[in-house]
Amino acid sequence: MAERHEEYAVIAGHFGFAAAVKARAPSVPLWALMLACVWMDVLFVPLFAAGIETIVPLPGTQGGYGEGIIHADYTHSLAGALLIAVTFGLVAAIWWRSSVALVLGAVVFSHWALDLPMHHADMPLLPGNAGNFPLLGFGLWRWPWVSAVLEIGLVLLGTFLYARAASRAVEAAQPTGAPARTRVRYVTAALLLSGLVTLGLNWFGM
């Protein structure tokens, strides 16, 4: 049953946030921002497969969208998230400017910050819940529709900000460049459709 519940987490909202960051930090590659925003979940996957981190349905539910208790005690602990973010930033700094690496590290950590209001109280402060401190999570998932609306809102806002910044970048570089403007439309459409498809599949438990 465990793998049936591996997908019911915040996904689209993180990507929407990353698109918004691109508008403010245009030199950071979008693909790297998109990877950074879900890097904690990427690391969760092998730990989940190994049974070290798990998801169990909230008691009395089918474990649908927002109905999972996520025991990601290493990747989604506060200290773990900080460590993962710093490591990601340091690796990024090998190839890219320190300002770019800093943004990427911050975006990695944004995953924890965005999960905090959504998760049920299942996020520890320290890896493995060492010290048995109170678990964190404000539990917006108790209202799945509200959570989904917030996620799609982030996708729409991020896409809008991205499209505006991309249009300005194209105008500055190629004021008469119709092909470049068409490319902006392609990326904007890809962001919107990707957000809708991802959230839709997530909502229906796929």
Partner: protein
């Protein structure tokens, strides 16, 4: 599936399309 598809769509598809736009460079040896 939504997670894997999300990565494919956002990182690979949108990322590749975005790379064709005239953004400033992220590399160290360019301003």
């Amino acid at each position: 599936m939504s997670f894997i598809l999300g990565i494919l769509l956002f990182v690979v598809v949108a990322g590749r399309l975005d790379a064709r736009l005239p953004w400033p460079s992220a590399t160290k040896n360019t301003p």
